[in-house]
């Protein structure tokens, strides 16, 4: 690992012209941090690498060949997975996309307007409202999920798309981030200028402030998208009809059935791989024009 790292780094610096007298290696690369970080990356990529390879194996290869040796059954595995119970797997993927996409969109909208109101206006009860909304972060989801289920059962809307979507729209963290972004990105005199021009508050928000907040709101959307896509507990409690399951819950039920029948292992493994591809792809694409640092509320100056 270390020799590889050094070799690559040398190649990278060596191509630069005019570096005939290079300083010794140790002063060009901090070896210990570089190697430690590469080991950390290896640890984080290991299960992903394993699932990529395991998904290529047929049922018999999975138990007979060396773990990191690719197999020959990937297309068969995907076909088998797609055929499982008339393609219920792709239904789960579609459901997850719906829950996460629509849920994150609604959540971002509510966060944006609330964060904007909290950042721009001075009004009575502002900090009280903010504190109460933030207290929601502290409430363990399961504490909420069970009474939410019982209350929604009274309204007779459990086991529906709405029962998974609605409780996740309000995101205290999303409001917190949106408030920071609004305070940093929307100057008070721009809002004031809008008022001078006779624009209403709603118009100022949608036409002037919202476009300025977009980079921050992309972060809120992503954060919420991941939170909903990865959510297991709420659908686990709310849903019983597996046609409405998101991918997390679907995979879990597949594993529950598969645990006693190793023949289903390949389906679970292939399903797990296909389930992580969308989010990984999302992050790889988006990191070109979006910084991870934004996730912790960092605002570029």
């Amino acid at each position: 690992m270390s020799s590889l790292a050094v070799g690559k780094a040398e190649a990278a610096t060596g191509t630069r012209p005019g570096t005939a007298q290079r300083p010794p290696l140790r002063s060009r690369i901090a070896l210990i941090p570089t190697i430690t970080l590469l080991l950390g990356a290896l640890y984080c990529l290991l299960p992903v690498a394993w699932v990529v390879i395991a998904a290529t194996k047929s049922g018999s290869e999975l138990f007979s060949t060396f773990t990191f040796l690719p197999g020959s059954g990937f297309t068969d595995n995907v076909k088998e997975l797609s055929a499982y119970r008339d393609g219920v797997y792709w239904k789960w993927m579609g459901n997850s996309a719906l829950y996460a996409g629509l849920g994150a969109l609604l959540s971002t909208a509510v966060s944006a307007i609330s964060g904007y109101a909290l950042a721009i206006y001075r009004f009575r009860g502002r900090e009280t409202v903010f504190s109460i909304l933030m207290a929601g972060v502290l409430m363990p989801p399961v504490i909420l999920a069970i009474p939410q289920y019982l209350l929604l059962a009274k309204a007779d809307i459990t086991d529906s798309y709405a029962s998974v979507l609605l409780p996740l729209i309000l995101s205290p963290y999303g409001i917190y981030l949106a408030r920071i972004y609004a305070a940093a990105a929307v100057p008070a005199d721009v809002v004031e200028a809008g008022r001078m021009d006779g624009a209403g508050e709603w118009r100022i928000f949608t036409r002037v402030a919202l476009p300025m907040m977009i980079p921050g709101l992309v972060t809120v959307f992503l954060f919420q998208f991941v939170a909903v896509w990865n959510n297991f507990l709420l659908p686990y409690i709310m849903l019983s009809d597996d046609e409405k399951f998101p991918i997390t819950l679907g995979l879990f039920t597949l594993l529950e059935q598969g645990a006693n029948t190793p023949a289903l292992y390949t389906l679970v493994i292939t399903g797990a791989l296909l389930a992580v591809i969308p989010l990984i792809a999302l992050f790889l694409v988006i990191q070109r024009f979006w910084s991870l640092d934004l996730l912790s509320g960092a605002v570029k100056s």
Binding site: A30, L37, L38, S114, P147, I169, T248, Y265
Partner: protein, 307 residues
């Protein structure tokens, strides 16, 4: 719509109107369920006769009965102890790694940081259920590369899904999933420290390690407090990882963590009153721990500031 808003709310009313959706959602999906859970926790069902007919089951006041039952429940206590054991592994290891990685990303002359930063962050994008499932397979002797290597080397092969190693197996899943996010939070704080702060120390000949220990770590203390705080909350609520590992082994009981016990009581046994009391207790413990921790962290900061 637009003009109606303009005339009826004006500048004064606008913030209230803008906050209305959030407040309504908070009332419906936070305040109301919490109130209902509290109400349930103080009630129980009284069955008269054979329990048949509509009037036979009545909700009656139970006082603190459900709470005393919960506090003396051995399964809940055992679950709480397991989570304490699990948390004492997860929180220090995860935050320790996150801090070390963040400091190393921030150090001078470190290579491949765009790649390593993204790779270490990657598990954040993977659902807890899928993470538990992937590691679960890696813990299974039949398919795991670890067991393959141990076998070739002739080393003993521990059963990772039983007894003591189960804690390590579960902790590893949480550490794997959470290190990257916390690393980014700490790294962001590190990058916001102005470079001038180190200049003097560098001129005085301080090593990178000394700069990290004496300058950088104290300066990112607030984000360490924040990550610690969220890690504790997340640890107390562990649910999906042990639930996912359950089908792979017999040694994860349905009441492994307190929240699994709550779920089991509410939906397995159908006793929503006891479940509500247990859930309330967990919420109280979470609040007391997190506020206690924040207060302690604040008073330390104040002491240091006063010095």
């Amino acid at each position: 719509m637009t003009s109606a808003r303009r005339t009826s709310y004006g500048v004064k009313g606008a913030p209230y109107a803008f906050l209305l959706p959030a407040v309504i959602l908070f009332a419906l999906f936070f305040a109301l369920p919490i109130g209902y859970a509290l109400w349930l926790s103080l009630h129980k069902v009284k069955v008269s006769g054979l329990g048949l007919g509509s009037g036979a089951r009545k909700e009656v006041w139970a006082g603190i009965g459900n709470y005393t039952d919960a506090l003396t429940d051995s399964e809940l206590l055992a679950g709480a102890l397991r989570v304490v054991g699990y948390g004492t592994i997860v929180v220090p290891v995860m935050l320790g790694l996150a801090l070390v990685f963040a400091l190393m990303l921030d150090a001078d002359k470190v290579r491949f940081t765009p790649f390593t930063r993204l790779a270490i962050f990657l598990p954040y994008a993977i659902p807890g259920v899928v993470a538990a499932l992937l590691w679960g397979f890696l813990y299974l002797p039949d398919v795991s590369p670890f067991y393959f290597v141990l076998d070739k080397l002739g080393l003993p092969q521990p059963d990772l899904l039983d007894g003591g190693p189960l804690y390590i197996a579960l902790s590893n899943i949480a550490v794997w999933g959470g290190t990257g996010f916390n690393m980014i939070v700490i790294y962001t704080a590190l990058r916001s420290i102005p470079a001038e702060v180190y200049e003097a120390a560098k001129l005085d000949g301080a090593t990178p390690l000394q700069i990290a220990l004496r300058i950088k770590i104290p300066m990112v203390a607030p984000s360490l407090v924040l990550t610690f705080f969220f890690s504790i909350i997340a640890t107390l609520q562990v649910f999906s990882e042990p639930t996912t590992l359950k089908p792979l082994t017999n040694s994860v009981p349905t009441t492994w963590s307190p929240l699994m016990k709550v779920y089991q009581d509410a939906f397995g046994k159908g006793d929503i009153y006891s479940a509500a009391a247990e859930a309330t207790l967990i919420a109280i413990v979470t609040l007391v721990l997190s506020f206690g921790f924040l207060r302690a962290a604040n008073s330390r900061n104040k002491q240091e500031a006063a010095r």
